[in-house]
Amino acid sequence: MSAPTGKSAVVLSDVRVGDSLPELSIPLTASLIVAGALASRDFTPVHHDRSAAQATGLQDVFMNILTTNGLVGRYITDWTGPDAVIRNVAIKLGAPNLPGDTLTFSGTVASREGDELRIEIKGKNSWGDHVTGTVRVVISS
């Protein structure tokens, strides 16, 4: 495969089951949380209004799931490059993402079937696992 973009892209023939994806750390700010909620058209108050978030018992606004999904997608295609097709993203949600924390993604190639990889991902913050799950992605060989 020729990478048409100059962007680093993984080559399918080099991928082995058990390979780790490079980690990605994302500083969590109120700006990211609010901007992510609005860019995903999610105006639920707990994602942009601190007092609404505090009424639920948390200290501050917390990240919406659509942003978490968006970051998971980015984490995968930062590694694969643009010649990849994500088929499925299944995630379990845990510790919320609040401003002042850091979200760190890690991932492992769990299995391969033809051109399709099953990647297990995890996004941790200081409380524990924010997100764990599986992404199925097809990389053109």
């Binding site: 108050p45 505090q54 200290q59 097709v85 993203v89 299944a90 995630i91 002042g100 924390d101």
Partner: protein, 326 residues
């Protein structure tokens, strides 16, 4: 300490009421208000820090497997969002809201999303007109969770394009729960988030009385009124004779270690690790899972004599702790 018949009747009506929603559509198919479009894709990628040229650069995208600009697949749900009206629940009426309102009225006011899965049948392209249709797929039995007693609700949303072809689907699982504590005091100093405290006692129809006993400093045991069998944890029916008539007796708090385990991993916020969990044979003849205090994990042994003290575990929550007997 009995469920009176009025409460039982209300619980029954609630159970029947919520089950009617299983299989129901949230509402008519929803025509997503914006066609899939490059400005919204670009704004979204800007925030996500996603520089994938398949989403952003027509010239490069044309040379990829996508053959032109596509929307990020995980943006699927964005097209279906209701936008600014979401700030006020009263502005959005549908069957799912109605169902949540039923839960709210029964005291299950908390809501938290626990899982979601998205399947992408094809990537969306600028100009696509997406329609979504959401079905309430299932409602679990009542469960005790770390957040409180509650029910899991699963919805499934199917997305179709302007030709009526399915382009993807997603499932979403939320927990509607009775918060087992008032909202915690919040830190407003803007520092790093405060770690959560330990899991609060789950209080449901069948076991709230037991925790109320603990609050009052009493270690209670449920006793069948008909055959006299003791049982724990609390439940509505005697396992020995199937009677639902019961009373309580107070335990002396004396017992022996029947079995134990020591949790090392994964560390759960709010607990000290390693964390011993002990199964106690109470002198009266039932067993109880509890914490052990003033004892290192390596000092615990089967047959060890212990005695109960009800103590504050922090934030006003009382728990039975077992100490090595003096």
């Amino acid at each position: 300490m009995h469920l009176d018949s009025e409460t039982a009747r209300r619980n029954q009506a609630f159970e029947v009421g919520i089950r009617e929603y299983v299989g129901m559509k949230e509402g008519p198919p929803f025509a997503c208000p914006d066609l899939v479009n490059e400005p919204m894709i670009r704004h979204w990628c800007e925030v996500m820090g996603d520089s994938n040229p398949a989403y952003l650069d027509a010239d490069v995208a044309r040379k990829t497997v996508h053959g032109g600009i596509v929307a990020p697949p995980t943006m699927l749900q964005t097209w279906d969002m209701r936008g600014y009206p979401m700030r006020d629940p009263a502005l959005i009426q549908n069957k799912q809201r109605e169902l949540h309102a039923l839960f709210d009225r029964a005291g299950y006011t908390g809501v938290v999303a626990t899982d979601t899965e998205q399947e992408f049948i094809r990537y969306l392209r600028p100009g696509d007109q997406i329609t979504s249709e959401t079905t309430i797929e299932s409602i679990s039995e009542e469960k005790a969770t770390g957040l409180g007693i509650g029910y899991f609700i699963v919805t499934r949303t199917v997305f179709t394009d302007q030709n009526g072809d399915e382009v993807g689907w997603l499932t979403f699982r939320v927990l509607k729960f009775k918060p087992s504590q008032p909202p915690a005091a919040v830190a407003t100093d803007g520092g790093a988030p405060k770690a959560p405290s330990r899991i609060k006692s789950p209080r449901g129809h069948d076991n709230a009385w037991w925790w109320e006993g603990i609050d009052a400093g009493l270690l209670l045991i449920q006793k069948c009124r008909d055959c006299g069998a003791l049982r724990h944890p609390p439940g509505p029916m005697c396992g020995a004779c199937q009677s639902s008539r019961w009373e309580t007796t107070e335990s002396s708090g004396e017992g022996t270690v029947y079995s134990y385990t020591v949790l090392h991993h994964p560390p759960i916020p709010g607990y000290d690790f390693p964390c011993p969990v002990v199964l106690i044979d109470l002198q009266e003849g039932t067993r109880l899972v509890a914490n052990i205090a003033a004892c290192k994990p390596e000092e615990i042994h089967i047959g060890m004599k212990v005695e109960c003290r009800i103590e504050d575990a922090g934030e006003g929550m009382k728990l039975p702790f077992f100490y090595p007997a003096r």
